[in-house]
């Protein structure tokens, strides 16, 4: 089973939930945690990993076109097919804007003169290891690169059928978030009881419904204002999976890069119970 942890709003506690959930479940199941928040991966910070532990080291490349000006007859086919306007024909040569290229390969496929070859441009890397009893993999988008989805897809290539897989997703509701959430069996949406949390939760719910993925909500920093979230969830028929109370001690634990379930073991049972509930909904 694949469970994605997403939110809409940033800073609601996706990584807190994903890391604690994964480590809590690793005791019972073969579990994998994939950090797909490739623009700012930080799940590894909660797992106490020594850099030397990484036994998975991959580079992520995007195939970008390289034009052979001697072969090019300026027929315009490559410009026509490029949906991202990464190519311009200035008469004497074709200019390539690599940062606009999405690496679809259409231009080289359609060039009748065979004037386009693809070269690999590094846009990110993947690291992974076994830590705290779970398979951990995370991707990092290279500085200056804007193409998060190919890096996310590469992280998700490490999903194994026999593992319970938890995916820490990027915030927002655009391509990176959608790529991270896609094909999961269930999506845990983490929110906070504020108007901002509610607003962005609604957006995220719209996305997961469009993707036909069942979802439930974790209210983080839960306090008196929960009713605004509860009212919305009741009207939409979305279950509350769990609440993490607003508590200075939990914030301190987070700020020290520690896991809640290690400092406050009661949480472990709550996360395990949450998984049991999710399993019921997914199977139903």
């Amino acid at each position: 089973m694949i469970i994605s942890v997403a939110s809409g709003k940033g800073g609601t506690g996706k990584t807190t939930v994903a890391t604690n959930f994964a480590v809590a479940l690793a005791d019972i199941y073969k579990t994998a945690l994939l950090d797909c928040d490739v623009e700012e991966p930080n799940a590894h910070l909660f797992l106490n990993i020594d850099k030397r532990q990484y036994n998975l080291n991959e580079k992520v490349f995007l195939p970008v076109p390289q034009i052979d000006d001697k072969k090019c007859v300026h027929c315009g086919k490559c410009l026509e097919v490029c949906a991202y306007h990464a190519l311009a024909d200035i008469g004497k040569k074709i200019l390539v804007f690599e940062e606009l290229c999405h690496g679809c390969g259409g231009c080289s496929l359609l060039c009748p003169e065979g004037a386009i070859i693809e070269k690999n441009k590094q846009i990110g890397d993947i690291k992974g290891c076994n830590v705290k009893g779970l398979d951990f993999v995370f991707g990092t988008l290279s500085i200056g690169s804007v193409m998060a989805p190919p890096v996310i897809k590469k992280v998700k290539n490490h999903i194994k059928q026999d593992r319970l897989t938890i995916i820490d997703c990027p915030p927002g509701t655009s391509c990176p978030m959608i790529n991270a959430v896609m094909k999961s069996d269930f999506c845990m949406l983490v929110t906070e009881p504020t108007p901002f949390g509610l607003n962005d939760l609604k957006l995220a719910v719209e996305v997961v419904r469009e993707l036909e993925i069942p979802c439930g909500v974790i209210i983080n920093r839960s306090q008196d204002g929960d009713h605004i979230i509860e009212k919305y969830l009741a009207s939409e028929g979305i279950p509350i999976l769990m609440k993490i109370p607003l508590d200075r001690r939990y914030a301190a634990s987070y700020a020290n890069g520690k896991l809640l379930i290690e400092d406050y073991p009661d949480f472990k049972a709550k996360f395990i119970e949450t998984l049991k509930n999710i399993e019921k909904w997914v199977k139903a």
Binding site: H85, A86, L87, A88, I90, G91, L95, F97, E99, L100
Partner: protein
């Protein structure tokens, strides 16, 4: 000289549109005869790579000169590498911009005036 000017309207009394890729119209004028035609910028709602796309459109019209307000790095690269001379003009009508150009009073743009927004 065949000049392209980014414009807010479709005649020579229109204001110059200081945006390049997302300008409303392009006025293509002959600076000697003052004959001109106005074309809609059909790319202004493009989601991706509008600078490159619009620069290609301007090149394909066979102009020597472009007068506009701001230019992003990708558009600047396409235009300058294709040998088009680019002049900067601010808040004025298209007519005024052409006059200043003829008098040699417009400043040449040597590079992009805005940062990339990727």
């Amino acid at each position: 000289m065949k000049i392209a000017i980014t414009a807010d309207g479709k005649d020579l009394n229109s204001m110059l549109d200081e945006r390049f890729g997302r300008c409303k119209y392009f006025i293509f004028a002959d600076s000697e005869t003052m004959e001109f035609k106005a074309l809609d910028n059909t790319y202004s709602d493009s989601a991706h790579g509008v600078g490159v796309e619009v620069a290609q459109f301007v090149i394909d019209q066979g102009v020597d000169t472009l007068i506009t307000g701001n230019l992003g790095p990708n558009a600047a690269k396409v235009l300058s590498e294709s040998g088009i001379t680019i002049y900067n003009a601010g808040s004025m009508t298209v007519n005024q911009a052409i006059d200043l150009y003829k008098q040699g009073k417009l400043t040449k743009m040597s590079g992009p005036t805005t940062n990339p927004h990727k």
